[in-house]
Amino acid sequence: MLARATEAKVAMPVTEPVLTKRIPTAPWGDPKNRRTVGVDDFIATGGYKSLEKALDITPADLVNLVKDANLRGRGGAGFPCGLKWSFLAPPDGGRRYLCINCDEAEPGTFKDRLLCDYDPHLIMEGIAIACWACQLDTAYFFIRGEYHHQAKVVEKAIQEAYAKGIFGKQGLMNGKVKFAVDCYLHRGAGAYICGEETGLLEAVEGRRGWPRLKPPFPAVKGLFGRPTIINNVETLAAVGPIVDKGVAWWKSLGCESSIGGAPSYGPKLMGVSGHVNRPGVFECDLGIPLRKLVEDYCGGMRGGKKFKGAIAGGVSMGILGTDQFDAPMDFDIGRKFDVMGLGTACPTIFDEDTDMVAVARNIARFFKNESCGQCTPCREGAGWIYKIISRIERGDATTKDLDLLLEIAGSMGIIPGTTICGLSDGNNWAIRTIVNKFRGEFEARVKPYSVAVSSVGVSAGVQLSVLR
């Protein structure tokens, strides 16, 4: 275990670092001491032991193990990883793919970067285990274009893994099993939508990142028309520790659902940004209350200011209100606190001086810029939402615009059934939750709605169609 940082006025969490075992992180270590762990250091500290162990287990048993652990996806949707793996048909002799999702373009999110920067072999080990468990022969590590430094670190780690015989045609782990895996880095080129799993597949195929209609699901017909599993970096990084320490250990971390839903087991990387004293990535048990995360890990609110609200976990999830500071950060959060979900578990914190209309405008601009343009409700809706919020911010809007805003936002997404992918649901939830939870602030910025007819002011209740 790493030396405990001296600065830490941090409450000791109940667990030891798992994903950050080799990455000094408060309260166990000082981020100043971080450096990239190369393959030799990785092996010297127990690395690739989990892979060795995994190769003694049959693929089917491994899938069941991950299923039993109830490892839920760390990329945003929280989908059970083992269940996803079990959707694959048995191998038919053709190619089968793993795509590692390191697009990490959701505003507020910067957790996968930590693993790429400092412990890339933890990801490589997870990749190798996943490929064995699912019998996938080729892995594409998809990394966003803006991660220049990380792309270099990951490429080096891939080459080191080849050199150590993890990947390559001799078979996994120097031919311990005959099954051979190739792993390639594939860089994105600046498009948030390529984080959506089927947009990602298009990007690997060299096309514009337009998400595909599902079904067929990627496990059936994915990359180059073949069975494909797409997993987030952090999800894969968790697979090694689960194999190593077992299902019971994994389930001792995190929490059960308090509302009869699926449990939230395991540790989770949480990246906190915004108005706190020590922003950064921390490893916490799922279920930690947001207030505790801010006060114990981040040194509290910056300048001793009051908490006003927080992006729940990437802007797509929507916003937690002033009275929701005690929300536990687990997969129940969506149903309990009127946000879309836990998302990436990377909250951006706002203090009392924050202009929520400006926050809404910023988020609306993001979705307008990043809509891929395929679905009319998303493309046009995102543009209109941005225009209306800008109007509110300038003071040129009326009360009617607020209703229009909510109506447009509420109609967009897979959940309302109007779009191909979930980008639009993100826009929907972000805008609706911020307007609903900070309605007073929006109302204060808009004028009462009235229409001038001749020289007489007519109130909003009048049927315009009749007047026309």
């Binding site: 190619r95 990490e104 373009a105 959701e106 505003p107 507020g108 999110t109 910067f110 996968d112 970067r113 966003r144 274009g145 803006e146 991660y147 220049h148 430094h149 190739d182 390639y184 594939h186 860089r187 994105g188 080129a189 600046g190 498009a191 948030y192 990007a203 690997v204 195929e205 060299g206 096309r207 514009r208 990142g209 990359l223 180059f224 073949r226 990246g271 906190v272 940004s273 915004g274 108005h275 922003p279 950064g280 990535v281 992006i311 802007v315 990377c346 951006t348 706002f350 924050t354 400006a358 926050v359 910023n362 988020i363 601009r365 993001f366 810029n369 990043e370």
Partner: protein, 183 residues
């Protein structure tokens, strides 16, 4: 894509005798990239990155050359090029400044950085200075929200940026290029 298929069109793409995709590049792509993907088009993104890096844009002629190398239509290449923000059909400046404008950076003061660079260089986001030295971009979240505000100067991320640091970086970039620094 009218620019390649209309036989009698007045639209002409600028061409030069020397190819953009050199034989050395193509040999390397054949050896290293093509075997990685089930289709030739799979190699398109890495190829475009290389061309963008080498020429600071993807010239139309290069798109035609890449298309013939990958046995796909020039229109397919153009389709991909125009979708991704990191590929440009006009040359970008030698120093591309990409300031993050997403939420964590906005609430931590990105606007004063953006305004400072606009004033100093006299360009708006997505414009390039007349001398071709600087391009200013306003980008979405760069995945470094804990050290906001941040910006990319070409491929290097700079964190916890202040106006002083931005000025220093612009000075360095101008000097590296033998320029006057746009004051």
């Amino acid at each position: 894509m009218s620019w390649t298929t209309k036989p009698s069109a007045t639209t002409k793409i600028p061409t030069r005798a020397e190819p953009y995709c050199t034989q050395a590049m193509k040999d390397r792509w054949t050896k290293e990239l093509l075997p990685r993907y089930a289709t030739k088009q799979g190699a398109l993104l890495p190829i475009l990155h290389e061309i963008q890096h080498a020429y600071r844009h993807i010239p139309y002629q290069a798109m035609v050359e890449i298309a013939s190398f990958l046995s796909i239509k020039p229109a397919d290449v153009m389709d991909t090029v125009t979708f991704y923000e990191e590929f440009h059909t006009e040359p970008v400046g030698k120093c591309v400044i990409g300031i993050c404008q997403s939420i964590a950076c906005e609430v931590c003061g990105h606007q004063k950085l953006l305004d400072h660079v606009r004033n100093r260089l006299g360009i708006e986001p997505h414009e390039t200075t007349d001398d071709g030295k600087f391009t200013l971009l306003a980008l979405e979240c760069l995945g470094s929200c804990d050290t906001a505000p941040v910006a990319l100067f070409n491929e290097t991320l700079h964190e916890k940026l202040t106006i002083e640091t931005v000025d220093r970086l612009i000075d360095e970039a101008s000097r590296a290029d033998g320029g006057s620094g746009h004051h």
